[in-house]
Symmetry: C2
Subunit: 416 residues, 2 copies
């Protein structure tokens, strides 16, 4: 057998192909990034039993694409979604308006593929999910940032922006919003603002793309009636495309998420989903376990997450003192932090990595990167409380060494 | 809550968006399409035990994206792939040259995304997998058909085509080939032709995109040494991107496939795989079951498939007589059939569907659709032997009613 160096691949790659991925070398010791979950909260025994039970009952149907349930996916998991979004988010749909996806990232890809082409306009919250921002940019679409305050998206500036675009003859393809546990600021949009937002987009004929990936993890309890308004989809289904996930409530390595939309939209998303179906065993498993255990599991998980958040806020306050402003979230798995404007967090990434610390620099979670150069996101679900305390302290030391800030940690004056 | 009809979505969809998917209404009675498998061969009990064992051992790692194994996917399943392709296909790679994908369709998408842009040239076997043909067309790439004969791709015409393109200054981005159980003709490319093909593409600097989705299902036994040459990847790794799957050997509802490529290519595919990982539970399950049972399971499955093929060939000969020419495959799950040129199989799709029969019309499996207007593909893994006999007879009746062919079925002259 003769082998060669092969063709000149670099010359054959299409224009604009992303840089090569680095080899994976494991996670850092203090891993404050990504949607990882608390490993101690994984119901391992129950999942093992549920997988075995579901496979014994339904396993033979794996011989059929989509188990023979059609391209929307496993009927039992769609029924679970219907029940969950009805009880917790006020959404009334049938299983035929639910499409199971391979993670909510596939939901983002499908909606983008349905609506966007290069040069289009979309509106984003000024701070938003980095993976959503980068996806539209890859398609040649530049998101327009909408200001946020502590309550979520501001209606006055949104109204002005829509008017200004209308004057230019531009209809945005959608407004992407994370109204319930905003990523990264952790806010929950009030009922009043939800009504105002929907009124505005109706007047302008702009779809709302509602991402509720964290909406099940709320400190005050799940769903409506615990100071949490219904989903935007519940308030005006015709105007909204809704996505959600079980990655955060159960496990991110399960690629089990969903999109909810009226059939004229959903039927187009189905046509664009050319993957021959998402992972059926995982759909069986999620349906089997969560059909009986969702409320209990999520309540217990939220309790643990809230404790970890408290440990993290305490650690940030102890280590950074008045240098850090915490946006304490009402749920979820991350804390958004603002440091003094003279700190450029991008310059901390490498020295932090050298100490085994990973964090999300604010610019990656901002439509205008420079606007968040002193902000950062720390995820708290994965690390133990001890790792949170140690990691935040280690990060404060890195920050001090690089910037002289914080000048005090744990009531002790830092020395250079 | 006020609801409305929503925005004018039809006006907001991007140009060229595919038509809406129809509502799923179940499979036809005689389902001769798609890569479905034999439900009686699903090892339901063993899969249930394996899922439970794997989850008990590794389940807590589901709290980490990709189980903490990195973006290539579950280490155990990559080890399984390494062992399988070494023993059966002669491929020598490490687990760091294997990327687990969500079905081999994701492999197609990733390779296309790495190499193709509108206006590019790719070479396809003149008859090829419909899903691969449609994918490159969606990207604005028109495949150039390469003639096949009973042995697979013809080297003389391939050589002429490469020379002609070179004269025009065109380097094809790849040649897509299914050398081992060609889809749809079922041929296996000889060792001699494999060597000639590789020599040609080396001289022209053209990558080979080798799809071996059916290569494990061969009547004479698995792998090299049973009249089956090694994979093209085994013969010149630098020149080839290789994809394979467990959809056909275990179950299509498991989205468990893989791509094998040298790191300079694989690292780019990893960068393009922005789905936060494929389904980890299914990777665990495939690794757990097939690490011990691959050879036995595939031998038993191949035996059953061969029996079903024999039943189908017998039924086609009985019902169509000399009107049908069967391309009896050397493995796999489908039979390619040629009817007389006056039959346009496209006109049979609707009347067949009305009798509960689904088949793949040849034009959907041909780069030049009209060239295969009298050809069709029948899959035989899913239906029972009885359904194969009944379905083929029912299909012959439809064909006779529509075209007057076959004039004889089962030694009885058909009457109009």
């Amino acid at each position: 057998m003769s082998t060669t160096t092969g063709p000149d691949y670099e010359r054959l790659f299409r224009r604009g192909v992303p840089a090569a991925a680095p080899r994976f070398t494991g996670f850092p010791k203090y891993n404050f990034i990504g949607g990882h979950n608390d490993p101690t909260m994984l119901p391992v025994e129950a999942l093992a039993d549920c997988a075995a039970a579901a496979l014994r009952r339904e396993g033979a149907s794996l011989s059929l694409y989509n188990l023979g349930h059609g391209p929307l996916g496993h009927r039992g998991m769609r029924d679970l979604v219907v029940d969950k979004v009805r009880r917790h988010r006020g959404i009334e749909v049938t299983r035929d308006e639910v499409l199971l996806t391979s993670g909510s990232l596939q939901g983002l890809d499908l909606v983008n593929s349905l609506l966007l082409e290069a040069g289009d306009t979309v509106l984003f919250e000024e701070l938003s999910y980095g993976g959503a921002i980068s996806r539209v940019r890859t398609l040649g679409v530049e998101p327009v940032p909408m200001p946020l305050d502590a309550e979520g998206i501001r209606i006055d500036t949104l109204s002005n922006a829509l008017d200004a675009l209308k004057a230019k003859g531009v209809t945005p393809k959608y407004i992407y919003t994370i109204p319930t546990i905003q990523n990264p600021t952790g806010s929950i949009l009030s009922l009043e603002r939800r009504e105002q937002l929907l009124k505005l987009v109706r007047a302008h004929g702009v779809p709302v793309f509602e991402d509720e990936c964290y909406a099940d993890l709320i400190w005050t309890g799940q769903g409506i009636g615990h100071d949490v308004p219904p989903a935007l989809y519940a308030m005006d289904p015709g105007q909204v495309i809704h996505i959600g996930s079980f990655s955060k409530t159960l496990a991110p390595a399960l690629r089990s998420a969903y999109a909810v939309a009226p059939w004229p939209v959903l039927s187009r998303l189905v046509a664009l989903k050319t993957d021959a179906g998402s992972a059926s065993v995982e759909q069986m498993l999620v349906a089997e376990y969560f059909s009986r255990n969702f409320d209990n599991h999520v309540a217990a998980l939220s309790g643990v997450l809230k404790e970890k958040l408290d440990v993290m806020v305490e650690a940030v306050e102890r280590e950074f003192g008045s240098a850090a402003e915490c946006f304490v979230p009402k749920g979820g798995i991350f804390l958004w932090i603002k440091l003094p404007p003279e700190v450029d967090v991008r310059k901390l990434v490498k020295p932090a990595a050298e100490r085994g610390i990973a964090f999300n620099p604010g610019p990656e979670w901002a439509v205008v990167p420079d606007s968040a150069s002193s902000q950062l996101r720390l995820c708290f679900a994965l690390p133990s409380k001890e790792e949170i305390r140690e990691g935040v302290a280690a990060f404060a030391r890195v920050c001090f060494e690089q910037t002289g800030i914080p000048a005090r940690s744990g009531n002790i004056r830092n020395a250079g």
